[in-house]
């Protein structure tokens, strides 16, 4: 087989699509532990609250491709880089010329949240578990979500307002601590509270109560919360079990170059499984990054001039059940902050900048110009018009102070008369 991809999440899927497009004559095999491959994990909260059908979760479009083979419901147990071989848990072997590891992450479930023989506890990660939760929820509407990161906040926001009573527990003193500044997260907190979500910040799960084989209550911050359904969204760890006996790990990390190559030149890696080494260690485990990395890895697998990732940021965007949110990056040490705020309208926009360039920020409540700010940040463009001006949610902002038509040429197909 010319190439084998381990993992059918978004990085693996995008890699498969890109590989077939880039190398139409080469054959590829995709191996995944789950029975279904090619669904959008980020939409699982909408699936669980029954506002989205299962059919809509799938984006798979290569079923009839004769050069693409999918082996699903099978786990890769180990890799033998010397013989370029994968060992599967069904005792079969798969040989490869190039390998892409996109095995993703596995949810962290704190010990206290996994009592024996207890129903009603769901780690938010896979479609199989989401299906169980979807069936379970209607009769068990008292919900507790553990973890105030992107997955936990999204799960809580989408369950609220569907006849569920929702509480959210986060160990830090703010929500989305890896994505937003404390000031920006206040708006998200206000939005969730408006949806009658009970927030317990700076708290962890201390104990759980099980009655008749079901979760009954959760103790956090010294208080007992009634709980019939417990969602665990406390983060994830790279799924690297298949590499435990290989020489590819460094202190349990799968480190890759910016071109997504591992220590073995025939093995590439992408998505939540990797740590990127580029003047430091980066773990930008977001959905948009997984897409970019999957595609890049596929292109580099047989390329004589492999390309590097040019963006290692944790840019993200979402609609938290009524609150629009753009994350450009967390506060950077030494960076200045510019803020545009209209508390009455629920709008907060901030940019972090250094040496006249955008290095992070967030747009909450009004995400106007998000695409252009993201573009400017990516290209390292110098901001000419001042950051306060740039933050205003007006479409004409970008034209102020730049009467030259050259700027327009980049954004519209301009037909100029002769001599202009």
């Amino acid at each position: 087989m010319d190439a084998v991809i381990v993992g059918g999440g978004v990085a693996g899927m995008q890699a498969a699509l890109a590989f077939r497009w880039q190398w139409p004559d080469k054959t590829i095999t995709l191996v995944d532990t789950e029975k279904e491959v090619g669904y959008y994990r980020t939409l699982l909260p909408q699936f669980m609250n029954q506002t989205m059908t299962e059919k809509k979760l799938f984006f798979w479009g290569l079923q009839d491709d004769p050069r693409l083979k999918v082996i699903s419901g099978v786990t890769v147990e180990s890799v033998d880089p010397r013989n370029r071989c994968l060992f599967l848990d069904n005792h079969e072997k798969v040989y490869y010329r190039r390998l892409l590891i996109a095995s993703g992450g596995r949810p962290i479930v704190p010990g206290v949240c996994s009592p024996r023989d207890c129903n009603g506890i769901f780690p938010v990660r896979s479609l199989t578990v989401a299906r169980e939760a979807r069936d379970w929820l209607p009769k068990h509407p008292e919900v507790v979500v553990v973890g105030g990161g992107l997955v936990g906040v999204k799960t809580a926001a989408h369950l609220a307002g569907h006849n569920f009573s929702v509480s959210l527990i986060e160990k830090e003193n703010q929500l989305l601590p890896q994505a937003l500044s404390a000031a920006a997260s206040r708006l998200v907190e206000a939005h969730l509270q408006q949806k009658n979500i009970r927030l317990l910040l700076g708290s962890t799960v201390e104990d759980v109560q099980v009655s008749q084989g079901k979760i009954g209550a959760v103790q956090a911050g010294g208080k007992w919360l009634p709980c019939q359904t417990l969602f665990v969204a406390a983060g994830s760890l790279p799924e690297l079990n298949l590499l435990r006996d290989s020489d590819l790990l460094n202190e349990d990390r799968l480190e890759v170059t910016p071109g997504l190559q591992t220590l073995d030149k025939n093995i590439f890696a992408a998505g939540d499984a990797v740590t990127i080494v580029k003047d430091g260690l980066f773990t930008p485990w977001t959905w948009p990054q997984a897409v970019v990395q999957g595609k890049l890895a596929a292109q580099n697998m047989y390329s004589s001039s492999p390309k590097s990732l040019n963006c290692l940021s944790r840019v993200n965007c979402m609609n938290l059940n009524g609150l629009s949110l753009v994350v450009l990056g967390v506060p950077v040490p030494g960076a200045q902050v510019s803020i545009y705020s209209r508390p009455k309208d629920g709008i907060y926009r901030e940019l972090f900048h250094r040496d006249g360039k955008i290095v992070g920020g967030a747009l909450i409540g009004n995400i106007s110009n998000g695409g252009r700010l993201h573009g400017m940040m990516n290209s390292g463009e110098n901001v000419e018009i001042g950051f306060d001006e740039l933050l205003k949610p007006q479409i004409n902002t970008f034209f102020k102070g730049s009467p030259s038509c050259t700027r327009y040429n980049r954004r519209a197909s301009v037909l100029q008369p002769e001599g202009v």
Binding site: Q14, Y40, T42, L43, Q46, M52, K56, F59, W287, P288, V291, K295, V315, N316, C317, M318, N319, S324, V326, I367, N369, G370, G371, R372, H374, G375, N378, I395, N396, F398, F399, K400, P403, C405, Y408, N409, R410, R411, A412, S413, V414, L415, Q416, P417, V420
Partner: protein, 181 residues
């Protein structure tokens, strides 16, 4: 493949394109008088931006490698295989706004009231784009991409030639200055 281009010298910023686009593509009634009374208010896919001195009508450029298509969570943004146009299939759009963040030109707009994103599809299933038909000064024109690229290539060559000439002049001025001293 076709693209909507704008003649900078003809655009007056009158926003007629916006009105007609919102009415024809965003309203139920399809007449301006009734469209302005609809809730939610119909939204346009073309937006007039720029300063009052130099206005410009902007719409999607149908990028060959479209970041919006790559970023779309649900596959609602798809390229029409025949025309090459990037189209939002509204039934599949869930209003997550990811495409708006990944469009470097800022020409995909959230429409929160309908929970969908809006972008120009060059009125793919109509005879011609309504903004082009409606523009009172013919500032908007439907052109072949190849023709437009040839136009921009020529402009670049002209600009480069102008720069070379300026460099030559600058060198001559410097030489004059040195000789004078």
């Amino acid at each position: 493949m076709k693209a909507i281009a704008v003649h900078l010298d003809r655009c007056t910023g009158c926003k007629t394109c916006e009105l007609y686009c919102a009415t024809e593509r965003g309203s139920n009634a399809k007449t301006l008088l009734q469209a302005v009374q609809e809730t939610p208010l119909p939204q346009a896919r073309v937006r007039v931006e720029g300063s009052s001195e130099v206005p410009i009508a902007l719409q999607c450029r149908q990028c060959a490698q479209a970041p919006c298509v790559d970023s779309c969570l649900t596959g609602a943004l798809r390229r029409d295989p025949e025309s090459g146009t990037v189209v939002i299939h509204e039934n599949d759009c869930i209003g997550c706004w990811t495409c708006t963040l990944f469009c470097p030109y800022g020409v995909i707009y959230p429409w929160p009231e309908r929970k969908i994103a809006l972008k120009c599809d060059r009125c793919l299933y109509m005879e011609s784009p309504v903004c082009v038909d409606a523009c009172p000064t013919n500032a908007l024109e439907l052109v072949d991409i190849e023709k437009y690229e040839e136009f921009t290539r020529r402009k670049r060559l002209e600009t480069a030639a102008g720069l070379q000439e300026n460099e030559h002049l600058a060198g001559k001025l410097l030489l004059d200055l040195v000789q004078t001293r």
